[in-house]
């Protein structure tokens, strides 16, 4: 499914022929493969291709989006004709000459998934199963999912932008169940990278499985979390989900541009504690949330969102820029051609500070140390957020004591950001899938450990 530059220019012209200010076209071909494994054996292996194109017209701040699978030149022309009929009104925008964007990839791949024999992929899954079971006799089930995703996209816009990207992503999801008498707990570890099969040279399947198994075994010994408001230390890595939920979503043009964010109109104002600097960086080499270009053909970039507690930038796509009079930030993303793009996060993190984990723990008489966080969600208009704790410990008299389970943390993002009292000195990323208007997309969350005061801990003890 390759289309020439001239052909795409023609499609954009046809789309705008009966009215519309701007048009863009997104063409995608994604080869996916997956292995699912449980009860000590492969359950299913699947593979397939998601291929199609989406065409969008923007008039003012309104848009029309149409898409089709399995496109050829004839189908593309029909799509352009259909969308121009739906957009028929007003003046036609001009299609500028397409200028290809040339770059050196930040996502170099050394082992493309398609070059790896299926038996070798199955081998990775089996290694994870074995390592999980060997970790402890208490591990009674290991469920593994291997996923790889090889996506080629071409984007062209009437602004003259034209770019291609090749994004390869690999992920291994391991869930272990530990059993002790009637007690049963689960642990999970699921790293992913913007890499091919070489990901397993960086992170071994065994280490992923052992982490999941370790967590399940710790939880067997855990009591239910206490209830109430406590100071909380959230460790590095996936703990960054707190910023992602409590603040990140409310900085996306999707909500800011509709005045549906608590941070609308707060540019250059203090929104976080002065020790907080937060960044969304789509250019981190081979990271899970990275891409060379965004889904409107702009180069991705490193966006400082909050500097020393002051809001300095939102994450803005084309529609957001029109609504907000804010520069584009290379933040336009979508799950597939079946979604119109919108402003999304990439690899979002709180920058390193200067406290050590021991300093943070030592400063707390009674509180919670959250080693691993689960997912969460937020209402951007209010920033009321929630997220779940997967592995946590009580802090008593400055020291980590017994493990606890079954907790969630809730609060108001706008308040929590102000209550970050200490920021650690060792940043790490955690892998996640982020769901919003333009579908489910790979996104990294990250942070060094942070200490937050006054979070509501939803336990039951």
């Amino acid at each position: 499914m390759e289309f020439s530059q001239d052909f795409l220019t023609g499609i954009l012209e046809k789309a705008l022929s009966r009215g519309g200010d701007y048009a863009d076209v997104y063409i995608e071909e994604t080869v996916k493969s997956g292995i699912s494994y449980d009860s000590g054996k492969v359950k299913n292996i699947t593979s397939g291709i998601v291929a199609g194109a989406g065409l969008r017209i923007i008039t003012g701040t309104d848009f029309i989006y149409m898409y089709a699978a399995d496109v050829d030149e004839q189908k593309m022309r029909k799509l352009a004709d259909d969308i121009s009929a739906a957009a028929a009104a007003g003046k036609s925008g001009v299609v500028k000459a397409l200028v290809p964007y040339e770059y050196t990839s930040i996502l170099p791949i050394s082992i493309l998934p398609e070059t790896v024999d299926l038996s070798v992929k199955v081998g990775v899954v089996e290694r994870a199963n074995q390592a999980g079971r060997q970790f402890s006799k208490k591990i009674t089930e290991v469920m593994v999912r291997y996923l790889d995703n090889d996506q080629k996209v071409t984007v062209a816009s009437s602004d003259g932008r034209y770019a291609r990207d090749h994004r390869v992503r690999t992920r291994l999801v391991v869930q272990c169940i530990a059993t002790d008498g009637d007690k049963r707990e689960t642990g999970m570890s699921a790293p992913g990278r913007g890499m091919g099969f070489e990901m397993f040279d960086v992170i071994s399947p065994e280490s992923i499985a052992r982490e999941a198994a370790r967590m399940a075994c710790v939880l067997l010994e855990a009591d239910y979390a206490p209830q109430g408001k406590f100071p909380v230390v959230i460790d590095n890595g996936f703990g960054g989900v707190i910023f992602h939920e409590a603040c990140g979503h409310a900085l996306e043009a999707t909500s800011v541009g509709k005045n549906a964010s608590v941070f609308s109109g707060k540019l250059n104002q203090q929104i976080a504690s002065p020790i907080v600097t937060a960044i969304d960086d789509g250019t981190v080499p081979n990271a899970w949330g990275s891409a060379n270009i965004d889904d409107e053909a702009l180069p991705t970039q490193k966006n400082i969102l909050v500097k020393d507690g002051v809001l300095v930038s939102y994450m803005v796509d084309k529609l957001g820029a029109l609504r907000m009079n804010h520069p584009l930030t290379g933040s336009s993303r979508r799950e597939s051609y079946k979604f119109a793009p919108t402003s999304r996060m990439t690899n979002t993190y709180i920058a390193e500070g200067d406290s050590s984990l021991d300093d943070m723990l030592g400063s707390i008489d009674y509180g919670l140390y959250c080693r691993y966080m689960g997912g969460g969600s937020v209402n951007p208009p209010t920033t009321d957020f929630n997220f779940s704790v997967m592995e946590a410990y009580l802090i008593e008299k400055g020291k980590v004591s017994k493990p606890i389970k079954g907790a969630s943390l809730i609060g108001k993002g706008s308040e929590i950001l102000m209550n970050i009292e200490m920021v650690g000195n060792s940043m790490e990323f955690g892998t996640g899938m982020c769901g919003s208007l333009s579908g489910s997309i790979p996104a990294n969350v990250g942070q060094p450990a942070i200490k937050v005061s006054g979070l509501v801990v939803g336990g039951r003890a």
């Binding site: 996916k32 009860s39 054996k41 492969v42 359950k43 299913n44 699947t46 593979s47 397939g48 291709i49 291929a51 199609g52 003012g60 309104d62 848009f63 989006y65 149409m66 898409y67 089709a68 699978a69 399995d70 739906a86 299926l118 199955v122 009674t140 089930e141 169940i177 707990e185 689960t186 239910y224 979390a225 209830q227 109430g228 909500s255 509709k258 005045n259 549906a260 079946k338 119109a340 689960g374 997912g375 969460g376 969600s377 209402n379 208009p381 209010t382 009321d384 929630n386 779940s388 389970k405 079954g406 907790a407 969630s408 809730i410 108001k412 509501v456 801990v457 939803g458 336990g459 039951r460």
Partner: protein, 449 residues
Amino acid sequence: MSMSMIKDLLLKIVDKQPVSSELYYSMGKEIEISAFNGSINNFTSAETSGVGARVALEGKIGSAFTESVTDQSISAILQKARENSEYSAFDEGNVLYRGEELPDSDEYMSKDIDSVPVDKKKEVARNLEQFAKDYDSRIVNVPYAYYQEISGETGIVSTEKTVAFRKSSFCGGLLYVMASDGKDTQVGSAMRVYQNFSGIDVNFLVKEAADNALSMLGAGELETGTYNIILDEQVASQLLGVFISGGASHFFGENIQKNRSKFKGEPGEKVGCKLFTLKDDPLSGSLRSKTFDDEGVPTRAMVLAEEGILRSVVHSVYSAARSGVTSTGHSQRGGFGGGVATGLHDAFITNGTTGQNALMKQLDSGVLITVVEGLHAGLDPITGDFSLSAKGYRISGGKQGEPVRNFTIAGNFFEFINRISAKADDRRVDRMSAFSSPSLLIPDVSVSG
């Protein structure tokens, strides 16, 4: 291509297959229209389709999918599925359903969405926004006002004689509003699905979303403690649904076989209290109704639990074969690209006989929970433990009192279904969820505020 042309194409391909093979076709047509500030700010329209192939060979199964519905592409994925099966492992459950040719099913098609002009559909989105703004001056913003419609076709054919095709269509409205009194901001939402365009009730959606937001303004907080609570019908459906109809459901044969369920799966096993009667009725005529499942197995109404006693677990062909029984017609796929899993169709806890008000009266004092958030993360489907962010109202003197928020409720699914002390008669089926429940009264629940 029409459904009958697709059927002919798939049958022709399947007829040529030397090994046990199945093709699953699905087509989806969607229209999505949203209004913002009086104008139609998003109009999305598309039709896509695809085919998933499964090949079962010597107790191994492999699958593959394509979005290109042509003889050549479909033959290619059958070949790919066969290759994939070679690296799979033997399991007695890896067989295809030995089926029959079923009559085409089109009883769940909308009667009018294809004939209603697009402008009328745009008007629904515009009205949702405008009526919400007119409803109360404190509705300050309506970020999302959507009209959506979906029509789809699904077909299954196999070398094992299965031929099953159905089509269905429906439409719906979604509204998300912000209310502010100058000091406090609250959000509210409403979503409903309708078989026919003529059934859309804009005023109902507006009232629900706006009242949800407005009634929360100035909400107080709850003191940490143990409360008697009422889960309203939506919260009860969402929360219990994760454990009953979600992938880790304790009522699925596969999860029981693999020791992931809390239950042994034997009829007669005590799983809940007297008020816990759980049924699945795929033929009730609701929007979730289906005459056959995603493997082409005819569906039927079933009692899963009666007054707390397990009557039956549910099976796909895979788990049924592993247990040496026949499928109960509970196979479910997430489209042509998704794997085959177990799923419920239209499961529910049966209604009680009184309204929610009577439950509040019975309770005298406690908390009515109307919103829970974080369902995708704040619970462990296997252990049943959960801790979720919640909103609601105090109940005092047997009546709904002041709004409360910024608290969590925590507990365990198995404890909850063993401690339902009353249920209302207010179960709803118009959200198209696989599980629905009436409002439930649960005593002694941990609340952190």
